[in-house]
Symmetry: C2
Subunit: 204 residues, 2 copies
């Protein structure tokens, strides 16, 4: 057994990553509206001014967290898509379900990613992560229609319709706007979500 209790080191080690994790915990617990940088510092066990050495300001920390969120959204879509068996339509539907399920599992993070101006959405890290997630959906839609995104205006409409459907569904579910039966089993919910997303599939 360690005889000497380790005196808290002056330097944390990897405060940057710890702060991002702390920020997510803070976000989940307090919501974006109650989010506090000092709260994150406290969770990480450092003084209130320590984060400044890793993030320019509170919004920069939220930017990093949002970017991680987009990575995980992307992962959720790809995993669901790969697990789906069936034709391209089913892969498309599955990726959409992955999108919605990510939102439902991470409402506060989703809100940060899509409903807040605090993260710097122009930053390369963030816009590229968002672009990758967007590309999954776009790829699936275009694979179904065989259209040319760059030249065929209808292709853009296909993509927008599909994205709007999964995104709107996510927002309404998160915001608890749909008054679904309380006793609805998760499997039934997922089936319903899939059915609705299937409606937005381009009719080739």
């Amino acid at each position: 057994m360690p005889t000497a209790l380790p005196h808290k080191p002056y330097h944390h080690g990897d405060l940057r990553l710890t702060l991002i994790a702390a920020a997510e915990a803070e976000l989940v617990e307090k919501g974006l509206e109650g989010f506090s940088l000092r709260g994150c510092a406290k969770r990480a066990g450092v003084s209130h001014a320590a984060p400044a050495h890793h993030f320019k300001d509170a919004d920069a920390l939220l930017s990093a967290l949002a970017a991680e969120g987009f990575d995980r959204l992307n992962e959720s879509m790809v995993k669901a898509m790969d697990a789906a068996d069936g034709g391209m339509i089913e892969k498309f539907v599955a990726s959409g379900v992955g999108y919605v399920m990510f939102a439902c599992a991470n409402p506060a993070l989703f809100h940060l990613m899509f409903g807040s101006k605090r993260p710097d959405h122009e930053s390369p890290r963030l816009s590229e992560a968002g672009g990758r997630a967007f590309a999954v959906l776009t790829g699936n839609v275009l694979a179904m229609t065989g259209r040319d995104y760059a030249n065929d205006p209808a292709a853009g409409e296909d993509v927008i319709a599909a994205w709007a459907m999964v995104h709107g569904l996510s927002e309404l579910l998160i915001g608890d706007k749909l008054h679904l039966p309380e006793d609805m089993p998760p499997a039934a919910l997922e089936t319903m979500i899939a059915a609705i997303i299937r409606r937005s599939a381009p009719k080739s």
Copy 2:
């Protein structure tokens, strides 16, 4: 006594209504994240503590503003619907376009209404105003299908799909996630929105 309906203040004229208007101006200028109660008071020309006599706290003021927003959303949908000529499908599409256009014209307010937990969404004033707007969409969808909302599960799916589509479209447009051509004329945008909403119409 000229009027008698609500309490008529005297000092300021009607600080309650003035504050709601000030809150909207503050919201539009600073966004929800930069919204400040003291800023509202300054706009209204009163001391920073005056609002407390009309609203329990800042969130209560935002609740009142959100409720007004739902009234105006409702109005936007009904007006667009009434102006549309054509069958029920066109009325449905028009009301959806009214929804999206309201969102585009009032992004900050829309964000307050749907993307914030600060307003008390359980309050009767707010939930009833939201219910009225929801009912317009529901009514149109059911009128198209002739389904029974209470008993036919597919009816609920029709409604959710339609709402998710218009709502998702609104969020994506507001959030500037769709990289639409800069030079796109508003009329073309509206046409595209209508075309996308039409996809979500139940196929009876």
